[in-house]
Symmetry: C2
Subunit: 109 residues, 2 copies
C-alpha cells in the first residue's frame, strides 16, 4: 500500500476534503454532509489522509476534529520546484525573444 501525498491527492473527493479542512477543522460527520457519499466512505478517505499525514486529529469528547497538515502540502510544492526552474528558464528565453523582436521593430521604424 503506497501512502504518500501524491496518492492522497489522486482522489477528487480527498482533494475536496483537503480544501474544506484547510479553512477550518471539521468532524467526520460535518465533512460527510458536504458529499453525496456515506459517512463511512468519507471516514475511509480521512483514514488514508491521516496515514499520509496530510491531516491531523484532535479529539474533543466524542468528536474528532480533522485539520490540515500544511507541511505535507509543502512537500508537493517542493517536488514542483524542479519544473518551476524549467518553466522559468523558458520564460526567460521568451523574455529574451520578446526583447529581441522589440528591438528589431524599433530598427524598422
Amino acid at each position: 500500500m503506497r501512502r504518500d501525498i501524491f496518492q492522497a491527492i489522486a482522489d477528487p473527493t480527498r482533494r475536496a476534503i483537503i480544501a474544506l479542512i484547510a479553512i477550518q477543522a471539521m468532524t467526520p460527520n460535518a465533512i460527510a454532509e458536504q458529499f453525496d457519499t456515506s459517512r463511512q466512505a468519507v471516514s475511509k478517505h480521512l483514514k488514508v489522509l491521516h496515514e499520509c499525514e496530510v491531516l491531523k486529529q484532535e479529539q474533543k469528547g466524542r468528536e474528532i476534529f480533522y485539520s490540515l497538515e500544511l507541511e505535507k502540502m509543502k512537500e508537493l510544492d517542493n517536488w514542483l520546484d524542479q519544473f518551476r526552474k524549467i518553466w522559468e528558464s523558458r520564460f526567460d528565453n521568451l523574455d529574451a525573444y520578446l526583447a529581441k523582436i522589440q528591438k528589431e521593430r524599433k530598427n524598422d521604424k
Copy 2:
C-alpha cells in the same frame, strides 16, 4: 477512467518518467532502460501520461520522442495556490508574533 494530472503523478514510476523527460525528449526504449520494468509497462505509463496531456509525442521515423507538457505542471501549481495563501498568512502571523516578543524583550532591558 479518471485522467488528470493528479492521477498521472500518483504513481512513482510515472513521476520518475516525468522528471526524466523534463530534461530532454526521450523514446520509450530509452526511458524503459532506466527502470526495472518491461518496455510494455513503461509504454502503458506513457499512454496514461499522454492521455492526461502531461506528455506530448513527436514521431521521427519509427521512433517516438516524448517530452513534457509544462502547462500541465502549472495546473498542479495553480491548485497549490489555495494552500500557499494559507501558509503565507501563517508565516505572516509568525512574523508578527516574533516582532511582538522582540519588542517585549527590548522593554525588559
